[in-house]
Subunit: 462 residues, 2 copies
């Protein structure tokens, strides 16, 4: 039996005006695919009753399942409830429990909900209510008929932080069970840093060739921001079948990637991997940042429980702060400039010494748009990595690194924060600290070169 055809309708004038990309349609497409359905159309329609009605009619003609997002807010331009109710020829009715939930939500903040919120508990008569524990607007499911000609519509609020948990809580299982046709799917995303897409493409070519004609497995590159993901998808009838198809492919992809470049999968991030390693090894980290301006610390504190491993972060943007807070010497600043291996090294050592951390990383560079010169262009970044050695004699080791990733300010900073986190990760795992970029022979575009600017063991501090 062919998979059940599904459609996604995103409502919101902002989408049609190009204010943002329709990421809900993307997210839902992935989920519906995993549930065994086949998404055959996306439609986006403005906040206009006739447009939404007409889009629903269109989708009903080609889909059996339609998932709608947006248009459930409390304002006048939120029209999804009406449009769906009219499509099914049913009146809107108030759901008492949905209203109680809205009242409770507001009650916690010490005041009753405004009258305009009342519409957020309206649903088409006979609909199943999707109670919203993540926001105020209730969603709903309406059905008509069964079998091939039946229609199954679900409506959810537009904000991803409400829509996504609502989908997981209410729709995921039901869709897989009723419309998934016994097929289940799984996708694994492998994250890499420090290797370019074209280089990786060459290394993984045999796997691509193999899966091209495979109806159950696909391999794809997803270019992330200053990094590359490899996505492996697979479908099958049983979990065992899925595993049999997926696991060897994932293992081979890992083996073919350059050593140390695949830092995690799925929900892993560089910061979560670093956090896990620090916690597991019982180590405390300090961060000293110049051009990244707090981004490295911010990312580390994105990890819940980060107070266990992050002692402090210092955003030493001015020379003054580098001297006063990190003990970088005025002479070094004068002689080599703030963007130099020497300053990166003193920053890392200063952060280690002042904070009492076990390991410290520093970042100093030129993020642009201004400030670049011929010798020190925009995109040039130095890193210092200092580590208190747990030997009897004590002592500190320090190394510095350099990347040049010429691009826009945001991307330079993002890349530098990746590299700083990746340095800690590589150090904690005992991996080579250099990126394979230099070995890529002309495929250095996305990764930039990275060479150890200096590496030495300092004498014991005390």
């Amino acid at each position: 039996m062919p998979p059940t055809p599904a459609g996604i309708l995103s409502t919101g004038t902002e989408i049609l005006q190009g204010l943002y990309a329709d990421t809900n349609a993307q997210w839902l497409s992935e989920r519906l695919g995993e549930a065994g359905l086949e998404v055959v159309r996306h439609v986006a329609a403005p906040d206009d009753a006739r447009a939404v009605a007409d889009a629903l009619n269109y989708l009903a003609g080609v889909c059996r399942v339609v998932v709608i997002t947006g248009g459930l807010g409390p304002t006048e331009d939120d029209l999804t409830r009406q449009a769906v109710a009219e499509f099914f020829g049913r009146p809107l009715v108030e759901d008492a429990r949905a209203w109680r939930m809205i009242e409770e939500r507001w009650g916690k903040r010490g005041s009753p909900p405004p009258r305009s919120n009342r519409v957020q508990c309206l649903v088409p008569e006979g609909a199943r209510v999707l109670y919203n524990r993540w926001g105020t607007a209730a969603g709903f499911i309406v059905e008509r008929g069964r079998g091939g000609n039946g229609l199954w519509f679900a409506a959810m609020p537009g904000p991803p932080r409400e829509m996504q948990p609502m989908y997981r809580a209410y729709l995921e299982k039901e869709l897989a069970k009723r419309f998934g046709g016994g097929l289940i799917a799984r996708a694994v995303t492998l994250h890499t840093f420090g290797v370019s897409e074209s280089f990786l493409n060459g290394l993984l070519r045999p796997l691509f060739d193999e899966t091209r004609e495979d109806p159950y497995r696909t391999l794809a590159f997803l270019a992330g921001e200053a990094r590359v993901d490899v996505r492996v998808t697979c479908s099958g009838r049983t979990r065992a079948e899925l595993r049999r198809r997926l696991d060897p492919l994932v293992a081979r992809a890992r083996r073919r990637a350059p050593r140390g470049c695949m830092y995690g999968r799925d929900a892993d991030t560089l910061e979560s991997v670093v956090g896990r390693l620090l916690r597991r090894q019982g180590l405390k980290l300090a961060v000293a940042e110049s051009c990244t301006g707090g981004l490295v610390a911010k990312r580390l504190t994105d990890v819940p429980g980060s107070s266990e491993f992050l002692i402090e972060g210092l955003v030493a943007y001015s020379d003054e702060a580098k001297r006063a807070r990190l003990g970088v010497s005025a002479a070094t600043l004068r002689r080599h400039g703030a963007v130099s291996a020497e300053v990166a090294q003193e920053m890392a050592l200063g952060a280690l010494r002042h904070s009492g951390a076990d390991i410290a990383v520093s970042v100093t560079g030129i993020a642009g748009p201004g400030g670049g010169t011929r010798e020190k262009p925009v995109g040039l970044v130095y890193y210092g990595l200092a580590r208190r050695e747990r030997t009897e004699a004590g002592g500190v080791s320090v190394a510095t690194f350099r990347t040049c990733f010429p691009s826009g300010r945001d991307l330079v900073r993002l890349f530098a924060s990746h590299r700083a986190l990746d340095l800690i990760r590589r150090r904690l795992l005992g991996l080579p600290l250099e990126l394979p970029g230099d070995a890529e022979k002309g495929a250095r575009g996305a990764t930039a070169g990275s060479v150890p600017a200096a590496r030495r063991n300092l004498r014991p501090e005390r």
Copy 2:
């Protein structure tokens, strides 16, 4: 005359599989809007002849202009040419010049084009060819009829690096001239912080009511992350007409918003506004962060040239760092806990004193998911704002604030960073430091309450 309705069709099975968001539709929407057209539908369809044909039929029913991207590649699953040719009932014919361009392109690489590329120079008979100088596949424009019932279809390759320059070179001017109705469009986005969507909706209702039936002006809310935007769009025949329609509406929206809540427009961000004010007033800032973990500093250093006004940021995540780096007393930490008005105050004073800045802000709170208690729930954040007074006697003033924005970790931190930046902004502009949230009477959803936890003038420091 109402604007010409336009549709965008994106073809590609990857989009329906959710491998990436349809950013072509977003980009083209913005462009078509600028050219004076009104985008009324996006549709995405898989690489399937019937699906593409059916999507074209649907769009032709509601649009006068349809822009198609994707499906012009050399492989079997690239079906856009056929589908469009069949829709218009015309055969496909080879365009000699397009083929020569493909040959030349391959010639530069030293080999003749593969046979499969031959299809890339096929266009529907009578179509105008869009010669591709940025890749291999030719695009085309096909028309039928003129006036209100006429149809104008353009097809372009999917890769943005080909599609975008092709649009600029061939479509932009023609669309504006023929379908823009001599209309030009402009949009202004007004950014607010500290006021909920529903409260703002109430205040701006008269403007909404007024523009609902206005063919030239629209008003819309864009819920940002922990803040709200108001977008005003307008079209007109001349720049003067645009100004006449837009400026009064923008001015009235500003007047109706609570004092101090509209912090900027269009590309303005809280951090860019704060940076501008600091630079203009010649002041230096220091930031001391706990729960935001560097996010406030990171945002400030997003502003080019931030080294001029940001002396330092300190991410004092541990009690240890709060004591050692900011001079927060052990007694205060013990007595009130790290998340308290007292610690926020000492953090701000410490940052001011240690850095020599003119103004300092501090943030300490419970971002979650763990760490919340009944008295101090997840989402509770305290802020300190210290300012060196430029009086003869010198001296420092300090105030503390409190918000409770219960939500997920990321959003708690984002909201707290907004509030910290907003506090600096309000202080520098001499605006009330409290948010209007408390005055909203039950509309506190998006803003949470904010009350000055304490405010006092300290005696001169020295």
